[in-house]
Symmetry: C2
Subunit: 133 residues, 2 copies
């Protein structure tokens, strides 16, 4: 599985960067995750592969529990969706589904950290492993 | 306003600690926020002041948008609730209200970071200030 997490907007604050690096290290045994920055929607549209399954994160999307997210990720694996693009910072583009973390507005770095933490948590759930590293 | 955020369980990972320190620095012009660690529910019950307004954070609580949280925090100020205890890691104690970030299970350090970020965001909203520092 190959996840590309696109952040539309600015670079992240250092502590979020460090959090993501740590989760990415832990995730490396399960999947490939990359964090990519784009300036705006136009640059994002140019970079997105048409083959990618596109998930947009927005407060008006569908909320999932960690178990439901794990189930979804597991299903991606078995249904051949191996290239997942997750987009934070805009929902003004064609997407396959829109998910929500909750109704609060959040710093994009914090949202990206939550996503990495939840993807890591999902793989621990899928593999029946305890959460702690 | 005086916020005490109680974490029931372990210490936080370094990057969450750094994130909270940064938000706490930014918050210092608006309120006093402290992060306190307790080992278990019993220790928490001993430390909680009976005067505190107790908010428990749990995935089964009520979800608020950032604007609704700002409104609530503003109302605390005008209604004389100046001592707020926010508890993460257990909901097995008497509380005044239970709020939720979303349905996902989360690392307690990540939850604490979200709370600090949202309290900071609330004060920026209350004071009609742009979010960025």
């Amino acid at each position: 599985m190959n996840y590309k997490i696109y952040v539309v907007g600015t670079k992240l604050q250092k502590f979020y960067d460090n959090a993501i690096k740590e989760y990415n290290k832990r995730l490396s045994r399960y999947c490939k995750c990359s964090l990519l920055f784009v300036k705006n929607k136009e640059e994002l549209l140019k970079k997105l592969s048409p083959k990618s399954y596109k998930i947009c994160i927005s407060s008006c999307g569908i909320q999932l529990s960690s178990e439901e997210l794990a189930h979804k990720i597991n299903h991606f694996g078995v249904s051949g969706k191996s290239d997942i693009a997750i987009i934070i910072g805009t929902n003004e583009l064609p997407y396959d589904e829109c998910l929500s973390i909750g109704p609060m507005d959040m710093d994009l770095g914090l949202m990206a950290t939550i996503l990495f933490e939840q993807i890591y948590r999902s793989y621990r759930i899928i593999n029946n492993q305890p959460y702690h590293k």
